[in-house]
Amino acid sequence: MIMFERFPLLVTFFTSLLIILGFFIPRAPFGDIQQTLLVWVLIISGFAALLGVDSLLRLHIKRVTSRGEGWAYSLVLILTFVFIFGLGVFSGIKYGTAFSLASPFMYAYTYGIIPLQATMFSLLAFFITSAAYRAFKARSIDATFLLVAAALVIIGRVPIGGMVWAKLPVIADWILDWPSMAARRGVLLGITLGAIGTSLRIMVGIERSYLR
């Protein structure tokens, strides 16, 4: 029983150890082991996608059958899923791969999905403006520094900044390349050490929350 409980910990420990050894030992089988395990992850993820489809369809089919709130949108989702899936299968049979640029599947992707993605992405401009309006208020000395730095970077990164004063783009680049980069690297250093610490905790079995 104790062995059964410890088995996942042993698998975790030895798998981690193999990957660490693979980083330092170039010869086979150690050198390739990380790539091999990543391929395993991809294969498992491929099958796991079915779980996602199952969850998504079950939720929306139930909403349609029970006439829940917004059931019409769920119906659109189900029909669209079936339609795109059908296009994928048809394109795969006709063109050898669904990802052929001439296939109807890629047509739907290029003229349906990509514009929708671009629409959501373009909303970011408005969200940045509203967030900046709240963040860049000179309420304290720190906030004033932030406001000034942000104003210089914003003006320096657009063409009109360079037209107003040729040094503005240089100042904007300096702020991004030095103080901003120093702060980012400080955070990155902490993240890297934190990731190593977390990995060690998981590897030696101190942190087991992922097992429960």
Binding site: S55, M120, F127, A131, R184, L193, S209
Partner: protein, 371 residues
Amino acid sequence: MVFFFVLFFIPSVLLQSITNLTAFDTPNDAGGSITITWNVATELQTGGIVRYEIFRSKSASGGYENIGIALSNKTKYVDTSARDGMDYYYYVVAVSKEGETGKSGIFGPVSSTLQWFNTKRWNVLVILVFLIFAFFFYINLARKGIKTFIRKIPGLEALDDAVGRSTEMGKPILYIPGLWGLTNVTVLASLSILRRVAKKTAEYGARIMIPNANPLVMTATQEVVKEAYLEAGRPDLYNEKDIFFLTGDQFGYAAGCDGIIVREKPGAIFLLGVFAAESLILAETGNSIGAIQISGTTSTLQLPFFVASCDYTLIGEEMLAAASYLSGEPVMLGSLKGEDLAKIVMILLIIVGALLTTFGVVDITGLFSTG
């Protein structure tokens, strides 16, 4: 006179102008590779070379085969078709539009071997050994009962309050674990925090919703929440349908989460995981409905967005420290102190490195290179 110069002198110059041909076992590799380098006389380089052809044989006296070409701007070729332990001989020919214009002497024998250690990574090994030492040193201290001071992390302290406030308002809780899969350590840290949030949610009898972008993360979040509800003694409240798959598409996921935020108007939103450009779309929508928002990520580019739009933000390593911090177990907290010691050493190394580089002692930077 000119005719004789062209006929005899130039070819003799060209035929001697690939010099210093060297071949050696490619270092720090898995074997099967020999690196060949050479020098070229300036007159040959400017003489219109279009490529170099590399010839190899198992015998010095003959049987040479063309095994590949190198571009005219290269003076190095890596032969990856060598068999370990077998002796090879090489020579290189420079080819111009007119044909062969230069040839090296023969170099050999040389053979490839498997390497047991990547010598360019010795520095990483030293740092790793030090980290492991610091890590276990503080864990050992914790096991002996020596208490360690860990500063308060406001974002983690506010978890219970956020769940409580949402419950009082009669609103659901929305937990967004981001786009990445279980191979990312930040997602594992997010699951640790989810455990605490879900337990409190169960204790307060509130509803938690978790839209997922990754099917494996969905399965993991379902298990974590189910376990947390069991621990809280309220397995009856667990509803698997509230932990669902949305889409793996970045902006589709953002649109779906935004829809949930606007329709369900959650009282508390947790944005904990790995995020990209969708971070601000989610955080600003949450802000617009007045939800209390706790965010955390290791994506440094998204941190400013979260700081601007959320009430609390776990910055980088705070997120990764969450499991230890929330558990409150001395051994887990001790491991955090080990990380702190490593951080101090790193900062000292950076300061020393910066000073030495400033004073022109640049060799120190090479010590941190991994090739």
